[in-house]
Amino acid sequence: MAFKQVTSPHAHGAQNTAKVMQLVLWATIPGLIALTWHFGWGSLINVILACITAVASEALILEMRNRPIGFYLGDYSAIVTAVLLGLALPPLCPWWVVVVGTLFSVVLAKQIFGGLGYNPFNPAMVGYVVLLISFPIEMTTWVVPLALLPEGVAHPGFVESLKLVFFSAAPMDGVTGATPLDSFKHAAGLTVDQIYQTDSLFSQALFAGVGWEWVNLGFLAGGIVLLASRVFTWHGPVAMLAAMALMSLIFWDSGSSQSPGSPLMHLFSGASMMGAFFILTDPVSSAVSNRGRLIYGALIGVLTYIIRAWGNYPDAVAFAVLLANFTAPFIDNYTLPRTYGHTDRRKATERLDD
């Protein structure tokens, strides 16, 4: 009956977690299309495989933890993790790579910490980093973009791709190649201009790298949609991209043989845009206040650039995000907003009675 004790507020906005997650999923579509267009069916297969694994493993763990399965699967968080991991993995990588990575993401990085909302690290990036360290060959074999395929060679069709993923671990000749960031990493002694002239990845590109620029534009578009629908605030992504641009500008070195690449190349290569709009915006593992997210984003931008330029790995968004996850509680401690009626910002650990 109508007469019962309920807490205020009684009205509730239209937003709910499932809707937010669905929106994130929709926003990955442009990036996924760009990946599929330029690198073949591999990414799509990765995403589907990861989703199946994620849903199955999450259901299993929920069952083991005695949780209502439908209620928790219904928040779509496992699928978001799976899709992001699937998009980050190299197309046409063996199926077990995807499955192992997803299991690490969902079981180890998320459910073991208590499920959605309790994971200190970004689940997708935990899975990615585990794979990158464990299976470096599989993880660094990228497909050549469509535009650069040799004459008479095409990306395998969907069925062919499935066969490759499930039954053949051998990389295909002619279809695999370096990414723009790989090229820079391994082109020691050449100036930026020389790299741009000799490497078809750059010489045929619009502004950053064949295929990759479109993939990043796709994620940028999706990110802008999410920003416009207030799924997250601008602070994190903008801070990361700005920090990355600033770092690459400072160390641009006017394109000498020591230069790690131009700002444009860094912003539109590798996982830059995906990282900025889909990875570091994971609210669970990031800093909470807007000021904190500025610092958090900038830290990821700087770390990514440092590892790209001087580290062992060509791309570094995953490492940067995980390192920044460590710092998030520390950042939170010093970035409380100033509350109405207070003259100073407080520290989170401030003791009032002392």
């Binding site: 005695n66 949780r67 073991i112 208590g114 499920g115 909302g117 309790y118």
Partner: protein, 206 residues
């Protein structure tokens, strides 16, 4: 001299170690004097956390003696008036795991109670006045006594000595002012709650 030391590495090592020992010993000695802490802050802190009912249910004559005993390694679960929340707070302070309340010392009261004297029956023996650890009973010999309710800690030490059994422990009245919203149930996602959630069919499966 220096040449001698250089040529005798064992002596050099001994001299160096002895020197270090002297220097650090001096430093420590200085620090012990300079940063000397008067009193034991741990006892103070534990005493702060105890409910100060001074009821003696822990077996000590008051809260502070128990605090001192805890500081010397006694069990922290002997305080029924403080209950589990006090045990948790002390466990947190001392960084030990929180045990359950030791039922030997009594059970945690669900509602706080205070003493009331049925004044018509009081014979004015002053025995309860002597028993009250916080001087919350007012009266004089052969005159009626009464409890200062605001000062009563509910220790019930006055009940036993009363020769005419005219003291009752009555629950503190709670009205609309004392009412508070209950905390909403935790969203059942914490892994720490798994133990309590696991039901019988799960046990069967295992």
């Amino acid at each position: 001299m220096l040449d001698f030391i250089i040529q005798q590495p064992i002596i050099a090592a001994l001299v160096a170690l002895a020197g270090l020992g002297i220097i650090f010993g001096a430093l420590l000695g200085f620090a012990a004097e300079k940063f000397k802490i008067v009193g034991d802050p741990v006892i103070e802190q534990i005493d702060e956390l105890l409910p100060q009912t001074q009821c003696g249910q822990c077996g000590f004559p008051g809260c502070r003696p128990y605090a001192e005993s805890i500081a010397n390694g006694d069990e922290i679960n002997k305080c029924p008036p403080g209950g589990q929340s006090t045990i948790n707070a002390i466990a947190n302070l001392l960084d030990v795991s929180a045990p359950e309340l030791d039922q030997e010392h009594g059970q945690e009261a669900e509602v706080k109670s205070v003493a009331y004297i049925r004044e018509a029956e009081c014979i004015g023996c002053t025995k309860c006045i002597q028993a009250c650890p916080v001087d919350a009973i007012l009266g004089a010999a052969k005159l009626m006594h009464t409890v200062i309710v605001d000062e009563c800690t509910g220790c019930d030490l006055c009940v036993e000595p009363c020769p005419v059994d005219c003291i009752d422990m009555l629950p503190v009245e709670t009205g609309i002012k004392e009412w508070q919203w209950p905390a909403p149930p935790l969203p059942n996602g914490l892994i720490a709650t798994d133990k309590t959630h696991s039901d019988s069919n799960h046990e069967d499966a295992a």
